[in-house]
Symmetry: C2
Subunit: 143 residues, 2 copies
């Protein structure tokens, strides 16, 4: 999660909402890491999680990331949560909770849906204060 936080900090320096994600394989080796790039890439889907999932799948040459673990500084939105399910990621660890835009513990609660094809293990609130402070500082500075 400390690495994911570093990626989030990099996002802030380029004016992107500071969210970072790191994807490890089943043996704990780094597969991919990314920060939010919505504005840079002019891509509404360029959330850190989606970019990391796509990069890891490209690297493994497979559309399934079975056994992999995703660390992300903010609770994923519904788009990213469903992508995590589609990719068959084994464990999701996230930092700050997101009552407004989250889709794991809030809103759509993707993994609790009876239609959900795959449910990862979920651990929320890791380095929550640091992950949340980065976001708060970013939005405060832009107001």
């Amino acid at each position: 999660m400390a690495d994911a936080l570093d990626w989030a900090r990099r996002a802030a320096t380029v004016g992107e909402v500071p969210v970072g994600a790191v994807l490890l394989d089943a043996r704990g080796r780094l597969l991919a890491a990314a920060h939010n790039r919505v504005e840079t890439d002019r891509d509404p889907t360029a959330h850190a999680e989606l970019l990391a999932i796509r990069a890891a799948a490209r690297r493994l040459g497979a559309p399934r990331l079975t056994g992999c673990r995703l660390y992300v500084t903010l609770e994923p939105c519904a788009m990213c949560a469903q992508a995590i399910a589609l990719a068959r990621i084994e464990r999701l660890v996230f930092g700050a909770y997101d009552p407004k835009g989250g889709g794991v513990e809030h809103g759509a609660r993707i993994f609790e849906q009876p239609t959900c094809n795959h449910r990862p293990e979920v651990i929320g609130g890791v380095l929550e204060r640091d992950c949340g402070a980065l976001l708060k500082d970013f939005f405060r500075a832009r107001r």
Copy 2:
């Protein structure tokens, strides 16, 4: 929707789940079209809708597709539905309903969530029989 169906048929010929999507701008001009490419691209997020949204945003040079209309042959999953909301697409028209994997009229019902940032107009069931038959034939042939 007839164009989206053509894209779906192309998907079937390359062994992809036959779902097609077409994105038009506010004036009805074609911005992007795609079919499902999960296996070809080895990308769990390569659903027709997500590919069309990313291509259209790239073309417009903006992460928001305000005023645009998306036609897709199958009810979007939760990932694609949330991407539609993030992209601020104005109208979603889809063909077949998807009780198993859909995230609009089933499961997560993304646009009905109080946390949903943007709600497009939704029209489901357009050319429903043709869109659904294509999927049924595809899966029957693979069994």
